[in-house]
Amino acid sequence: MSMTISEKILAKHAGKEQVEPGELIYCNLDLVLANDITAPVAIKEFSRLGLDHVFDPERVALVPDHFTPNKDIKSAEQSNYVRQFARDYKITNYFEVGKMGIEHCLLPEQGLVLPGDLIIGADSHTCTYGALGAFSTGVGSTDLAAGMAMGECWFKVPESMKFIYHGTLSPWVGGKDLILFTIGDIGVDGALYRSMEFTGETIDHLSVEGRLTMCNMAVEAGAKNGIIAPDAKTKDYVEKRAKRPYQFYASDPDASYVEVREYDASQIEPQVAFPHLPENSRPVSEAQGIKIDQVVIGSCTNGRIEDLRIAAEIMKGRKVHNHLRVIIIPGTQEIYLQALREGLLETFVEAGAAVSTPTCGPCLGGHMGILAKGEKALSTTNRNFVGRMGHPESEVYLTGPAVAAASALTGSITSPEEVLGSAN
């Protein structure tokens, strides 16, 4: 019987020939992940099991990235708890400040998540790795504790939704715009409990970075996972990073989907999602002129080198508007170094932007750019819930790096074409 890519990966890890949507299965895990917020709860639960080892110290990744470099004493205590656990249990993939990055930028870059893998992470944006053709999903800390102990997790096989994108993207439109547009179409629970499979020639032409951005936000439509069939681009990306074997899967041509949606991607404008839900996305032309107090460019959604290159291209030789703070956060140390070598960081600093060490920081209102009452931010992050970046009466608008960079120059939400002309 035919299966989707998600079903094939789940079947393989359950040791079964095939699985069907709705089926409950136990699966072996290739990697389990937690951060400085979720690991402490997971470690506390794990310790109740009285074990002196994790299932495989090379397949547990601990990335303190949310409140690091630690913002206060309590956060430092939490990080220390995770650090000590990593030492005691000889966790190979523990990443200290100075070597770390935002988990969902870091793990693909380090070759720790690979095509065909089954991954759980105690972070909702673990769905990012579907961009490499893995089945990857977010769980809570207790599921993660069980995963650390047993190397397995139970799953209900999700129904799959297929999204087909046709056509060539307009200038300054990227993965972020596609996913914001899609969430705007189906709503924040439009893919609840389901798998979102992104296909079509637009996706074939999209960079691995753009694909990571799309799959990152599958959870914002309620999905269990987002996934893109691996191809030559995926191979280029993973073959120089992988330290273990990996496998490419693809959906059968006659695989069954609960829903199929097709979009003419050539008609999609850069998108802006209005407060307070990611589904409130509109073309940038309908958001023009909204005054903002802060721009954030970074996060597990858009903190990769391609995002920084786009922002720098727009900001080069120009100045950040006087009424605005701009905070740029490269996703990992490697991205930071690359941006440094390419002169992107110089461009940002000369423009009047602050450049931060990698951290989730302002995305979840942690630190490094908290909003005051009544302030508005335009951000390349993934959530614009009430109080997400600070005061409950502040507001977050979501967008991609191009609109964020253009708006940084004008002080209000602006299309990149307005700053640069349409020559690009």
Partner: protein, 166 residues
């Protein structure tokens, strides 16, 4: 298990940042988390909620982050059960894993009003409104979840499974 309590009602898409804002995630102490439960949706809630109260939400309750601090905060605040039209999937798993009773029931979620008192039979998934007429039946749990609930959370369930394997 029988539950009786007054309803606190919230809307659709209650996200985990509303349930427990990230600024309080520098602790894993349930009592500290409970003190800020629902703060950005209703700043009065944490101070007012009585032990045994029942929280009601609309669709997609618990969407957003995977933070288990969210159901922990609700449970530690004294809430005995959460009823919603639908739950976001990570919240759903987390609640079961830590032993916070939840029921998925669109009819009850829509009909129950703030301040109503309800009686709930968790095993049967039955919800009865004691303030005004209304009886509702929640969707049953998938079999794995039922086992986890019966063993009072995932960790006990895993311990059993490890014994079976040994």
């Amino acid at each position: 298990m029988q539950i009786k309590g007054a309803i606190y009602k919230f809307g659709d898409d209650v996200d985990t940042d509303q349930i427990i804002p990230a600024r309080y995630l520098n602790t894993i102490d349930p009592a500290e988390l409970a003190a800020h439960c629902m703060e950005d949706a209703d700043p009065e809630f944490a101070g007012a909620v009585q032990p045994g109260s029942v929280m009601v939400g609309g669709k997609n309750f618990g969407c957003g982050s995977s933070r288990e601090h969210a159901p922990i905060a609700i449970k530690a605040a004294g809430v005995s059960c959460v009823i919603a039209a639908t739950f976001a999937r990570i919240f759903y798993r987390n609640a079961v894993n830590i032993g916070l009773p939840i029921l998925e029931c669109p009819e009850a979620a829509s009909a129950l009003q703030e301040g109503d008192t309800v009686e709930i039979d968790l095993a049967k998934g039955q919800i009865k409104n004691l303030t005004r007429p209304g009886e509702y039946k929640a969707a049953p749990f998938p079999s794995f979840m039922q086992k986890i609930i019966e063993q009072d959370g995932l960790i006990n369930f895993v311990q059993e499974r490890m014994k079976e394997r040994a």
